[in-house]
């Protein structure tokens, strides 16, 4: 496992950086928020991403993708996160693309994957039912009825759930809340009768929804992966999601840190640049170290995903913990070091704080993953 980017990966990263800087600077995100955009992402920006081939990065070539791996999509998300670029890339290009590629049958792959590549559909993964991520707490049921399943229950905090065309849903086909067995995954259109979607208003102004399923009837061919294997398959999808989200959060942290460093080099008080004060210098140096450690963790996790290493789960929890704690620290310090301007809405740095706290919760907080890391390490 080499912890450096290949030339192609570096090229992808540079492309993404240019794209984010030129096409979606932070002002782009601000205007979507200010205009109360219903999707909170822009369809023109998304079609440009589609043209660049980004939704197909995890998709095999036979379905039109480039099969370029988790590191490939990770560096793109990292760069886009530096300008807080909102897009369906995470929910569709990572979660949807990976879930269907890995666990879909031939029909599902040929039906959905080319449409993800072409940008015709976006997807959302509906897992959580409680305020803290814990997939085994799934209560939502899927009851077999002849050649159908009937879905009942409610999913919350579904990323891109307010706009996705296709939903991938975790439901219980047997057992009770708390069991990690008896779970199955289903894939269905979001406009299926009986589905009610409520857009959420979250601190980071991104696209989330709570989705209720009331006697939703779907054909048994909607089962994604084998019946009652989702306890494991979902973890595998989630681990890729956690790693990709860590890459995003790393990008957030790097950017908030850079903006803060620039400020320390411009702002004068007491007749001196505030960046010359040791009280601030040492805290900046400590943040630098944490960011470096996070870079290595994310890099190792992305590589482990691409090499299908047996360390994948542990590295996924490692990277989500490191990214969570580092972004937490940096987003707080960034505000404090900016002083008064840092708590104004007019200035961008507050966006990073709000994004940070929401992202920290996605697919398990640092606390959740610290516990999981201990379990996986045998202590």
């Amino acid at each position: 496992m080499k912890l450096v980017l290949s030339e192609e990966e570096q090229f992808l990263k540079d492309t993404a950086k240019n794209f984010a800087d030129e096409r979606s600077p932070i002002s782009h995100f601000r205007s979507l928020r200010d205009n109360n955009d219903p999707k909170l992402w822009d369809k023109d920006i998304w079609s440009e991403m589609v043209k660049l081939g980004w939704p197909g990065i995890l998709i095999p070539e036979e379905f039109g993708g480039s099969n370029f791996g988790v590191t490939g999509i990770g560096v793109i998300l990292q760069e886009c996160a530096k300008t807080l670029t909102p897009s369906p890339l995470f929910a569709t290009g990572v979660l949807g693309a990976y879930a269907i590629t890995q666990f879909g049958n031939d029909d599902q792959k040929s039906n959905y994957l080319p449409k993800i590549v072409s940008g015709e559909i976006t997807t959302a993964l509906a897992i959580d039912e409680t305020s803290h991520h814990e997939p085994s707490k799934t209560e939502m049921t899927a009851k077999k009825n002849d050649s159908n399943f009937i879905l009942n229950g409610k999913k919350i905090f579904v990323i891109d759930g307010a706009s996705a065309d296709i939903l991938i849903v975790l439901a219980r086909t047997s057992g009770v809340k708390g069991d990690s067995t008896g779970l199955s995954l289903f894939i269905l259109n979001s406009d299926t009768s009986g589905i009610e979607t409520k857009k959420l208003d979250m601190a980071d102004s991104r696209n989330y929804a709570n989705i209720s399923f009331n006697e939703v009837i779907i054909d048994e061919s909607s089962l994604l992966g084998d019946l009652e294997t989702a306890g494991e398959t979902v973890e595998s999808i989630l681990d890729i999601g956690r790693i990709a989200m860590s890459a995003e959060m790393l990008g957030n942290a790097e950017s908030a840190f850079e903006i803060t460093l620039d400020y320390l080099k411009q702002r004068k008080q007491f007749g001196a640049l505030i960046g010359s004060f040791q009280a601030l210098q040492h805290r900046a140096a400590e943040m630098f170290c944490e960011i470096e450690l996070t870079k290595s963790s994310v890099m190792a996790a992305m590589r482990a995903a691409d090499e299908n290493s047996n360390e994948l789960q542990r590295l996924s929890s490692l990277s989500k913990t490191m990214a969570g704690e580092t972004l937490h620290l940096v987003s707080n310090e960034a505000i404090q070091m900016h002083g008064g301007i840092g708590v104004t809405d007019e200035y961008d740095i507050g966006f990073f704080l709000k994004r940070a706290r929401v992202a920290e919760q996605i697919f398990g907080s640092a606390k959740y993953h610290t516990e999981r890391y201990a379990n996986l390490s045998g202590f």
Binding site: L3, A285, C289, E292, L293, S296, T321, A374, G378, F379
Partner: protein, 397 residues
């Protein structure tokens, strides 16, 4: 068979024949274990320690990448990786611990003359000469460049007078590499030279310092009219500061490895210690407060290890990151020892006597020793300054 495969096979055969049984995994626990530092006055409790050192030294494998003409192994990076894997495979003991290897030899290779390299490097590699470091002085700690030990030009030789402090194992060392003031009128950084001094020379004396751990790894070293041949000057006169800084990077890189813990299951593993003193349930540490703290700590440690690996994979960026590794590695090591002591309860502060076992008592001493980690080789605060200014480009006041 590729050249590398051939090298692996030859290495394996050589190790099979030459690595003594007590120097590998599965050694008889009754055979005493030496910490081998070499040198003129080295003593060995186990004669096989000496045999192992001599054989590895002869091969040049204590510094495998150094060219053969200087007594090194002359191996490529790929070959060294193979060598390390083979050594690891049989659980081979490190044949030699040496400040010569970790600090001096790398700067001699860069700044020494041909004669100096040929004179000193082979003896370092074979463990014939044990070196110590003469940097800090009573009045020059973090502000190292203010050092005052002076070396006057008296024709053929330098006349050295002054005092060094925190010289690790000076009482056991044969030679010292020292920073001396040769330019008293120059600005402080521009009047320092890098000088090699034989500790057997008349006028050199040492006195051990007892630390809070009760042990004495450090000494004060005194120079009283010590005559040093001019050929022992490394680099140009008054140009020693550059060499000094370079050596500090090697030192910091070495100290950084403290941040990596002993492996799971070893006596100095925080998990094993916690399980021993707090109990274990279904393989888990019984106390959740400690368990959570230990897991957070292990995560940082893992990330730190990956960062060392990444720096290696990126290659050649050591200078920018040496301070970070020194800072993080030592702070992390201190935290780990605090965790181990806390998880041991009252046994974690055992000092002496029969009521406590050796592991507990050794841990207490080790914990106290770590307090020096973030001071020696440049304090954590100095490292933070270096990162702020050199890496982050923050302005000076």
């Amino acid at each position: 068979m590729s050249n590398l495969d051939k090298f692996r096979q030859e290495t394996r055969e050589w190790l099979d024949k030459n690595c003594p049984p007590s120097m590998r995994t599965g050694a008889d626990p009754k055979i005493p274990v030496d910490e081998v530092w070499g040198g003129r006055n080295a003593e060995y409790k186990n004669p096989e320690s000496k045999i192992w050192l001599d054989r590895m030294g002869e091969k040049g494998w204590t510094m495998p990448t150094v060219p053969k003409e200087y007594g090194g192994g002359g191996l490529t990076k790929e070959e060294v990786k193979v060598l390390n894997e083979e050594l690891f495979g049989i659980g081979a003991k490190q044949p030699l611990l040496s400040f010569g290897i970790w600090m001096l030899a790398p700067v001699l290779l860069e700044y020494g003359s041909e004669e100096q390299k040929k004179e000193h490097i082979p003896k370092i590699i074979k463990g014939e000469i044990r070196w110590c470091q003469g940097y800090s002085e009573p009045g020059s700690g973090s502000d190292l460049a203010s050092l005052a030990t002076k070396a006057e030009d008296i024709g053929e030789k330098f006349l050295v007078n002054g005092q060094k402090v925190w010289t690790s194992y000076a009482d056991k060392a044969d030679w010292i590499f020292a920073l001396v003031r040769t330019g008293p009128k120059e600005p402080k950084h521009d009047g320092i030279s890098f000088l090699l001094i034989d500790m057997a020379t008349k006028g050199v004396s040492t006195k051990p310092i007892t630390l809070i751990s009760g042990k004495s790894p450090f000494c004060e070293t005194f120079f009283d009219n010590v005559e040093v041949p001019k050929e022992n000057l490394i680099g140009e006169l008054n140009a020693g500061w550059t060499i000094a800084k370079k050596l500090l990077q090697h030192e910091r890189a070495f100290i950084s490895n403290f941040g990596l813990a002993a492996g799971m299951g070893s006596k100095r593993d925080v998990v094993s210690i916690a399980k021993k003193h707090l109990g274990e349930e279904n393989g888990k540490i019984k106390n959740n407060f400690y368990r959570s703290e230990i897991s957070s700590h292990k995560i940082k440690e893992h990330a730190f290890g990956l960062t060392l690996k990444r720096a290696g994979d990126e290659g050649g960026k050591a200078s920018a990151t040496a301070s970070m590794f020194k800072l993080y590695g030592t702070e992390h090591n201190k935290k780990r020892h605090e965790l181990m002591v806390a998880a041991s309860g009252i046994n974690g502060v055992a000092w002496d006597g029969d009521e406590f076992d050796d592991d507990d008592k050794n841990l207490t001493r080790a914990w106290l020793r770590t307090k020096g980690n973030s001071i020696e080789g440049g304090t954590s605060e100095v490292q933070l300054n270096v990162i702020s200014k050199r890496v982050l480009g923050l302005p000076s006041q």
